[in-house]
Amino acid sequence: MLLFLRRHRVLVVTSFMLLVALYVVSAHWERPKDLTFLDNLGLYVVVPLQLGVRWALAQPIGLWHNYLYLVKVRQENVRLRGEIARLQGEVGRLLEADQANRRLRALLEFKERAVIPLIAAEVIGRDPSNWFKAVLIDRGTEDGVRRGMAVVNADGAVGTVMQASRRAAKVLLLIDTNSSLGVMVQRTRAKAILVGTLEDRAQLKYLRRSDDVAVGDLVVSSGLTGTYPKGIAVGRVSQVEKKGYGIFQYAEVTPSVDFSRLEEVFVVPDGRAEIAEAPAAR
């Protein structure tokens, strides 16, 4: 027996670890728990590294644009290369500043519409797996971020804080399969639960067959859960399907937020906050 265990120790230990992992998964199955000391320690190591990489990535973008412009200019006119490159670099820098300005102005306008203060945060990393949709933000419990808080941006609802460490927090996006949010169709007030799919879309569950829903209808948060403010734009109905049977109908929602370009977000500390609708709804 001992000889067998020794000979196959790698497989035996791997199997044991698999059982431990299964136990951990089952313990966290229903809902995520608070971070333990070890989890916090892990994030304490990883988050500064992610911030560093993010900073390092931001630097070459300007250089890259300038270089491309420089090559192009060299082909066109060698004599004017230096001057044009400088000007193009300046234009690139100004365009980048202009874009950042527009984005930040939109965020500022959104923040002003909110009655209570919001916690501004930046996305510093994405889910390592292709199967799940979560992002890491650079604000944590030190800044007042807590598990369950809503996360929004100028375009609408983004997700919910899943776990928070001291300096960072994990946000589960609305399009993740584990995400669910109480919503309603703005036009008819029909209520449903929005759940994520494996694609960058979401679907409405428990939408009654008799409810009036049409393609193009705006879907907003219902505010019934208490953690998410009422009236936040979630997306637009892109497909409605009524099968020949059943008490519910199927509807697909295209989110208002472009999750692939998520950079800045706001955490809503109080789900009962009032945020005016209108421009946020695209």
């Binding site: 892990g42 390592p128 694609e199 960058d200």
Partner: protein
């Protein structure tokens, strides 16, 4: 011990690349799973208790950054490690094509196990859609990134084996 710590650092570096730089070009969601490739390497070339521990830690780090049920990545990475170890024990061939095929098989296995967990959690997306959307890109990306990551790790091993000058 030095080898273990350096490989742990390398694994974390790959993980951070995966969540930042490599997440950008595809708009965020389709990125190569470099940690999976590294776990394949560990199963194939380490095949020791340190390899199991390192795999566990890398899975744990992935769980910390992921929106999945906590522990899922520990589980899937250990399954990948075990599979790579068993395949390596029985059918080992030292060639880049073999490594590439192994990574693709591991990516497929990893995807199937993850899909089963997602289904069990109640997300009902059709299997064909899952395969087209996630599984096939994941397998292909694992195959593409396998040779360079293996070469990099093998070089690191060679450097680490050199005697340290007194």
């Amino acid at each position: 011990m030095r080898r273990f710590v350096i490989f742990l650092g390398a694994g974390l570096a790959l993980l951070i690349l995966q969540t930042t730089l490599l997440a950008a070009p595809s708009g965020g969601w389709w990125r190569p799973d470099l940690v999976l490739v590294m776990v394949g390497y560990l199963g194939l070339y380490w095949g020791s208790l340190r390899g199991v521990l390192l795999t566990f830690l890398l899975g744990y780090a992935m769980d910390l950054l992921s929106g999945s049920m906590f522990g899922l990545h520990i589980f899937t990475r250990l399954v990948d490690f075990g599979a790579a170890y068993l395949i390596g024990q029985r059918f080992y061939r030292y060639s880049a094509v073999y490594d590439l095929k192994l990574c693709m098989v591991l990516a497929l296995l990893d995807g199937v196990v993850t899909a089963l967990f997602i289904q069990a959690a109640g997300a009902g997306t059709p299997a064909v859609e899952v395969a087209a959307l996630l599984l096939i890109p994941q397998v292909l990306l694992a195959g593409i990134f396998c040779p360079p990551v293996f070469v990099l790790l093998q070089r690191a091993e060679r450097v680490l084996r050199r005697p340290v000058p007194a």
